[in-house]
Symmetry: C2
Subunit: 473 residues, 2 copies
Amino acid sequence: MNSQTDVLERVLAKLDEGQGDALDRLFSFIAVESISTDPAYSEQCLDAAKLAAGYLEQAGFEAEVAPTTGHPMVLGKYRSKANEDGPHLLFYGHYDVQPVDPLSEWSRPPFAAEIIEDPLNGKVIHGRGSSDDKGQLLTFIEAARAWHEVTGDLPVNVTVLLEGEEECGSPSLDGFLEKRGQDVRADFALICDTLQWDKDTPAITSMLRGLAGVEINIEGPNRDLHSGMYGGPALNPIRALNKALAALYDDEGRVAVPGFYDNIAEPDPSMAAQWRSLDFDDKGFLADIGLTKPHGESSYHLLEQLWCRPTIEINGIWGGYIGPGQKTVIPSKANAKLSFRLVAGQQPEAILEAVQQFLRAQFDGDVKVSFSLPDGSPAVAFDLTKPHMDVARQALKDEFEREPVMLGCGGSIPIVEAFMSQLDMDCLLVGYALNDDCIHAPNEKYNLSSFQKGCRAFARMLSGFSDQDKASP
Amino acid sequence: MNSQTDVLERVLAKLDEGQGDALDRLFSFIAVESISTDPAYSEQCLDAAKLAAGYLEQAGFEAEVAPTTGHPMVLGKYRSKANEDGPHLLFYGHYDVQPVDPLSEWSRPPFAAEIIEDPLNGKVIHGRGSSDDKGQLLTFIEAARAWHEVTGDLPVNVTVLLEGEEECGSPSLDGFLEKRGQDVRADFALICDTLQWDKDTPAITSMLRGLAGVEINIEGPNRDLHSGMYGGPALNPIRALNKALAALYDDEGRVAVPGFYDNIAEPDPSMAAQWRSLDFDDKGFLADIGLTKPHGESSYHLLEQLWCRPTIEINGIWGGYIGPGQKTVIPSKANAKLSFRLVAGQQPEAILEAVQQFLRAQFDGDVKVSFSLPDGSPAVAFDLTKPHMDVARQALKDEFEREPVMLGCGGSIPIVEAFMSQLDMDCLLVGYALNDDCIHAPNEKYNLSSFQKGCRAFARMLSGFSDQDKASP
């Protein structure tokens, strides 16, 4: 046993001993009703920020409750005495929580945290924010606290950024990063707001689909027409729109827009193999939403359809008379909202252009076609060969005694986009939440094992990061 | 010159002499603001009914203002002394008018009728109801009055029914016909609420398309889904609906539903030939609604597409998010309203069934499909060989010195449906309105020549009807 390993063992033991105190801190944190979307809870948001800053100070950080145009950020700084020139990581979490309506559906008060028995998960921590994201972010602070208590130091340089507006669309984030970016920037960001694979298996979220969207507005006749007086010769824009949108897909569920799949990087083969080997409950996933089979590209597995294949969705359509009863109108206009989930290799601008060009070509010359609100952000595929990725994988494997699943994520995560585009910072997404945590819903919970193993896995990562060479910026 | 012809000449001369008085009666009729849809004008509706009943009495009729659940009907009865066992015709018109909003767009007061010069039409009668339908219905009463003044009799038995709720959906009509049907029923109905072909060419409306409709409601996922979390494997019901609705048509604009065109009677060849020979302004008709070419079945002429070919129209479609901005939702549901213009030979029930069966077959088993509000009424093609049809054609030809156009009508006419289905009565549709009469719009007018020739043509028809054998019921 070398000395670094010895230190880690002492840190892990400290975490185990201090478990009761750590839970007390989490319970106190949950008790502060920091609902960011409701202005009535502004005071509570500030209180939660102050409490988190206090926890950071207790862990040896220099902490600041930093004002923004909205709820404050909490900034924590720690410069390692032993490893001042070593790696520098930014840890991100958020202290704000979702509203609790409908309150009547909670089995016990949302802000009075307690440990309860759950038939599927064993002991769980009940309470709003227990998982999203107070419990999650505290795993890191507790890991740092234990390191500091055992060694009087942290093994790497750490900045902590805790946001107070994640649940209300992060309106102040961009402005804050513009102003304080240099105080936030590190070698890479460790973000703790994501999922494990299941209650026993850890995960690293390794790719996020991007998003682009556009609205199509078409006009056929110059006014609404009576279908008796004009039906036959008059062009019906709903019919034209249906036909154009139907042409977006072929019979195998593939997008038929030329160039849509160009330059798409196939997923890392080992990751794809891992996905196919997972005992993912396809039937259960689909049954939960009322379906019996996957409806994406038929040549791809459900998880591939979800995580690493792009889509075109029609999010909304409207035209003509949509009130009660019948109206024999041939409308002048029809409209639809489209959005595209993008994967690595697809440029939002190019995809938006290709789709618009394809759609324009579907319409007769008597149709006026226009597009509005085109907008997009690219997909992210994290580099699995980065040293911090290896460290995280090993730490999770050591702690959970299972290989972590390299998850994909069908949606985008705004903070990742902000860190990558504004601060040019690589991201590492490790979290311990579960699909059944009821985040954003009544009866939110966090598995006690997630909290405990989360603290311990982050302690292992802090050790691992200190061993790696300074990560490339 | 036989004596019947001699009498007719005297009647026509009487009409010409009495033109000024006839116009005075029309102006007085227009002056009564009988807007049926607005309860504030109930008194005026009653006044208009009384005035019309008075005109009938002056023409020798026994007249009654008959109460209904809404505005009253005017009933007039004349039993011919000379031809008591001869034909019996029912004349139909309506004394109510459309509202006048927006008043600011009228060039002069809507209820102060006057003769003005119109660059395209020469002298026209300006005023609300001048065409629809006070001017039109008065042409018949004036013809009868002249007959009565000249001969002290009418050459045929005549019942007159003037409705006061045509412009507000005829809510009391069915109930009235149920109760008083035997007082209304005649050998055939002459309805004067339709168009000439152009200002110089008369017309008989010889076919009306029927109408059926149904709403389709589909459900894919059992709830609205986040397109990031589910996009790919999740079935999008808007996409499914687009595809199904697009399948309703083939590339030549024909309806692709099996059986849709079964049993369709092709139009009478001479009538079709007449249509094709008309100098109908296709380009102008289309340009008026912002189109450059007809979009119906490519193998049919525009007028055929409009009058004697059936259609499926999508009158409305809705699903997903249709507010401002973007929402990355995969909706649970999508819906559309469909209606069908039917032609002779198509049974509404069979068409509704065929379309529903066809649409059901377009959907994957994961889609729940339901239909609501199926309803329909068949098309009408009048028998061109009936004696009263010949009489009308000859009278119009004699008066206008042009062959009347046998028009189709793309929509249905509720009174025709009521007479045919409730009273099993054949209908003859002759009117003298023009497309540019601005009925239902500001600055309604009626060509003075329409009024004059209309009176004279009806005088000729009364003569012609008396010569024919008693029409078969």
